[in-house]
Subunit: 330 residues, 2 copies
């Protein structure tokens, strides 16, 4: 392991994950503690610090061995201010000064970042994007998240809304409603939740026959995993759902290729368990939708760090802050 | 006027425009010469140099007074290589080494940029975006072009396709075909050409009554200007076309607010003659489509440099190159 060492913390709706990462992006063993947001934000801030302490301990290190800390949280947020504002997944928290609290407790430089942005930065630093010059990451889970890295920097945006890629509009004339309450968002088509919903709707059409009706008699229990599995086994209806999902994701990818034009587009989250066949379907649609040069040259791949991307990316933010502070001392 | 001086050249399908610009973005009087692309690329390269010479002359200067040159051209292109590749608006040119030619002829540092990117950079430096930290420009003409400026840099993209905003997909289920041959692109909905086409289609519906039928009996002569004028005078059909156009542009703006999240979104090109009423319609739709924070904070406005944005932006690229070279000499 190469010094200096950084500690990253990824705060999620159900758990917090933290680990020490070395200067080359190699992680030490990580720890997880339940978030228990319902216990309030004071408790939450203390739980963040405790998770960081345990991570440093599980690396066999002391806090004095750590050069800087990075914390990634879900939104909404004010990144320059280091605050979570009104996070839907961390109720009832409001206006939580995460960065300043952690910085004060440990007296160490502390970086703050959106969780999907941090995951993208982690993949860019130490994962699938290691050799890329710029990268767009889509995270496919309950929702669709995103992160954009250009020239070694996270595109935070002017109002901390950079990379909210699940909420780009891809349909106008017959739009689905999104979890955000608005219409036509990518997330309303291509999240795991949307895949299940679209499949449930299709199964309710009269005269439809699918193996899913047998394997999952109560459609309320349907999962995106079951749909991808049924498609892999040749179920026509499930295959159509998967094919359409690949198309929707290709529309999202194309829109990034025609605006950001990155070196790499990567996908993370539970849905990438669908494997290479699904990735190849996305690539096939991109070739039809995008201009030939970006369609031919942009790498389209899966992320490689799994659930560790968040804390590794948070550590990458810590490392960037540390380098900036070191530079400014010259 | 403040030294150093830069000369910018904006190469278009029908004319080339060039002017000297001072260090603060103030332009001297500019000159235009016909492009005459059909006479071939050797002629074209000489015409570029001649336009630059005349611009310097019309500023009352000599070439030795110029610190650097910037050239902006339409695509397709390889920006780092300084080449136009296969430009649809400059047939029969192919693989034209613009930057190296101009640099050799004048023996001055020469920057090369896409014309829409240059226009965005010009507006950012010396026009509507002067006080912005980041900006997305949409140019509304025969097509829809775009340019993205983040942190003082043009987002060129990894494959010179950054800011091709006319070709973001905004419709999947019933997409219009775009001039690029693909489907569902913003340009197929919101260019001046698309506005005319959508209006012609609407006028061909049975039982339709519109003042446009009287003022423009041959629908082949319909212009976007006539449609915006008819809407302003209360024509119901024209008003619907204009309202839908504002909605399509708001979808494009929202997609940029949820990915780039810029300080400012600006519109340029002939269609902005439609005035404040049209801009307010775009803003109204953005407030429904986008998240509250970017919807409330992102400035949405018209560009201010008109047809001069291209050469002023090309000069801005020259100035940035000059600064970089000066910096690297330290």
């Amino acid at each position: 392991m190469t010094k200096p060492f950084f500690v990253g913390l990824d705060v999620g709706g159900s758990a917090m994950k933290s680990g020490v990462v070395d200067d080359t992006g190699q992680p030490f063993p990580n720890v997880s503690l339940p978030t228990e947001a319902h216990r309030g934000q004071e408790f939450g801030l203390e739980r963040m610090c405790e998770t960081i302490r345990q991570a440093v301990g599980s690396a066999g290190l002391k806090m004095k061995d750590i050069a800087a800390i990075g914390v990634a949280t879900p939104g909404t947020m004010d990144i320059p201010a280091g605050m979570i504002l009104d996070p839907p997944n961390l109720k009832p928290w409001q206006n939580v000064p995460v960065r300043d609290h952690v910085q004060r407790i440990f007296n160490l430089p502390t970086a703050f970042q959106n969780d999907a942005n941090a995951a993208a930065f982690g993949e860019f630093w130490a994962g699938a994007g290691k050799s890329a010059h710029s990268m767009v990451l889509f995270t496919l889970g309950t929702g669709v998240g995103g992160g954009i890295i250009i020239g070694d920097f996270v595109l935070e945006g002017q109002h901390s809304h950079g990379g909210e890629l699940g909420h780009m509009k891809i349909e106008m004339s017959n739009p689905r409603q999104c979890g955000c309450g608005r219409w036509g968002c990518l997330e309303a088509y291509a999240s795991a939740t949307a895949v299940v919903k679209r499949c449930q709707e299709a199964l309710q059409q009269p005269g439809i026959s699918s193996s899913l009706q047998k394997f999952c008699p109560d459609l309320r229990n349907l999962s995106s995993r079951a749909i991808f599995d049924a498609a892999a086994e040749g179920d026509t209806l499930a295959d159509k759902i998967v094919e359409d999902t690949a198309f929707y994701l290709a529309v999202g990818a194309t829109n990034m290729m025609h605006s950001i034009d990155p070196d790499m587009i990567a996908y993370a989250g539970g849905m990438i368990a669908a494997g290479d066949n699904f990735l190849n379907r996305i690539r096939k649609h991109v070739h039809k939708l995008a201009f030939p040069v970006p369609a031919g040259k942009t790498q389209i791949c899966y992320a490689s760090l799994g659930n560790d991307a968040g804390f590794i990316g948070a550590a990458a933010c810590a490392r960037q802050l540390y380098g900036k502070l070191a530079g400014s001392k010259k």
